[in-house]
């Protein structure tokens, strides 16, 4: 049996609980030996030696993390999990650096880690190395983080297979932000009529952007994903040494509020319109792209041009796309699809859990 404990069940963790509960109630293609045994949010926590019942999972906020639950204490949570005996995975659904810094401790205690939280893999190299070392032995605890790049899309598993089988990575190139995908797919297309600030406004109103869209436009989210891809490919990328093109106009970076930013963004529509018309005049479109260069081992995040018949130009909606150019795939191996949202992120986590289940969960079934 594989025990699963979820830290920070919000939108993504909630979707994961839903998917796991659905599996427990009517498994398809064979029941997986998975049990949910722990939940912790910022206030409450519960750890159970016996799996939570599917009926309780259906209303976990009240029935598991309700008033009767204990007060949240992360150290005690890990303690209780480590004592359960069976292989146990901690699923970190937060985006917290503080939680990410606990992974080495969890691993040292034999707990596996699965997470969509990018922090541990894109911050200090020392933390990343520590985690790699602890998760490196074949029978030891493992770390899977497919959902840190492209949510449920098979991106990191594919990259892992490429590098472990000895393929030579020449280039990893992609559109890794649903927000920036949406923005440029709509702004930069033949015949498109919206101004850049209008596109940002629509994206913000539709909930596609962070509360302050500058947190998307500054490229840092993409930079974290590029850092993760580069490191998984074997390069020692640091997010602070990455070449990142911040497309927030310089004068608006220090503006205090998101509202003020939005109201002043139209002043820069001409700037973006010119970039766009230059691209279109050359038969290309603008796309905001993250890249790992295999020859130099360097990463970058940039506004680039792609010809109309390039797969990046044909992207729609808020889809992600990633192209691996390798010795074996000179015509790149491409993965694309929805790279954000709770259901597909939970799917990425669930897929990782199956991998751990197959490696470690069956022993004590």
């Amino acid at each position: 049996m594989l025990n699963v404990a979820i830290v920070g069940p919000g939108l993504v963790g909630g979707a994961l609980i839903e998917q796991l509960a659905a599996h427990l109630q009517s498994p398809r293609f064979g029941s997986l030996p998975i049990a949910i045994v722990g939940l912790i949010n910022s206030k409450k926590m519960a750890v159970s030696a016996a799996p939570f019942a599917a009926s309780d999972l259906g209303d976990w906020k009240c029935r598991i993390l309700g008033d009767a639950a204990g007060s949240a204490d992360m150290a005690q949570f890990a303690d209780s999990l480590a004592k359960l005996g069976a292989p146990t995975v901690v699923v970190d659904c937060t985006s917290s650096s503080t939680v990410a810094e606990l992974y080495p401790e969890w691993l040292a205690r034999g707990l596996h880690v699965v997470t969509p939280n990018k922090k541990a893999f894109s911050s200090d190299l020392s933390l990343f190395r520590k985690i790699q070392a602890l998760a490196g032995s074949p029978r030891g605890p493992s770390v899977y983080h497919e959902a840190t790049v492209g949510a449920g899309l098979p991106v990191l598993s594919t990259l892992n297979d490429l590098v472990r089988t000895g393929d030579r990575i020449e280039k990893i190139e992609g559109i890794f932000s649903g927000t920036l995908s949406y923005l440029f797919n709509n702004f930069s297309a033949p015949g498109a009529t919206q101004t850049f600030s209008e596109c940002v406004g629509v994206a913000k109103a539709s909930g596609y952007t962070e509360p302050d869209p500058r947190d998307d436009l500054n490229g840092m989210d993409v930079a974290r994903k590029v850092t993760i891809l580069g490191r998984v490919a074997g390069f020692e990328l640091g997010i602070d040494t990455l070449d990142v093109e911040n497309i927030v106009p310089e004068a608006l970076r220090s503006v205090a509020s998101a509202d003020e930013f939005m109201s002043r963004l139209p002043e820069y529509d001409d700037h973006f319109a010119q970039l766009n018309s230059e691209a279109l005049a050359s038969g290309s479109v603008l796309r905001y792209v993250g890249c790992v260069d295999g020859a130099s081992g360097q990463g970058s995040v940039k506004l680039m041009r792609y010809p109309l018949d390039h797969p990046f130009a044909a992207l729609k909606g808020s889809d992600n796309i990633i192209a691996f150019t390798t010795a074996r795939f000179p015509s790149p191996l491409i993965v694309q699809g929805s790279g954000a949202g709770s259901a597909v992120t939970a799917f990425g986590i669930f897929s990782d859990l199956i991998k751990i289940c197959e490696r470690f969960g069956a022993d004590s079934k």
Copy 2:
């Protein structure tokens, strides 16, 4: 340690030996506990309790399957492998039905199976079910066949993750034949000038087709892949009940030789030209597509039209592409890239071996 034995080392098996030998000599990202211990072709065989040396693998035709090797005997080969003790994988690199029919026997003796051979998974449902039953237990022997569809592209692993995590498959649609991809990417594109028979001629001369191109154009290879996808998705597809559009002109199906077929194909250029101009006139291109419909559980292989801004229309060279439309991915999850060739097929096999290694190989390391 995971023992690997290869049946029918030709182009694909040879590429696999090369990739495994390269890994053994300079492992990246951690050495995998893999050893090659058996080789068998139509004439000779060798099984060794100790792994073959990397230096022998470099010249396996002479040094392992040379004159000194024993005469090929498949039953004895499996016998010797089953006695080795450590987890052992038989990699079937043939395309033989006869070899495929041996899988249940191998599995019953505890041998794992990895293969790019489509036969076992696309012929009789009874053979498929027998294999599934034998490979279904978490600690028992396993079967992986990623390379049967799209060679090394992560197609079946992705589909497996989707169905096992409870996603609902609405449609699987793709271009699964490198040959037919090449043909229609070149024939059916705005501004393309070659006739259909010229395209087939070039493809044949470039080695992209079977010796008799009718073996590509009759759709049976695609039908096998659709059958496999459908079955992995949980539908009981049979290759004989599939709706397959054979695009070999009816009068040329009974023509005796490939040469005569090629010489008479130009008689039908007008037919294909008309289909093509109709498609182009409606802003679409022709593509030869395999499809599994999740609602009906039926499969089909058909010449279809796709609008120019569809990812299938933008396909280049002889690439494969596959789109999974599911409840979680209404905008489909797409995988594309080279889906044929020995290096990428060997990569698909090697990736499967890593999965078995992680599940079973570490026990006795």
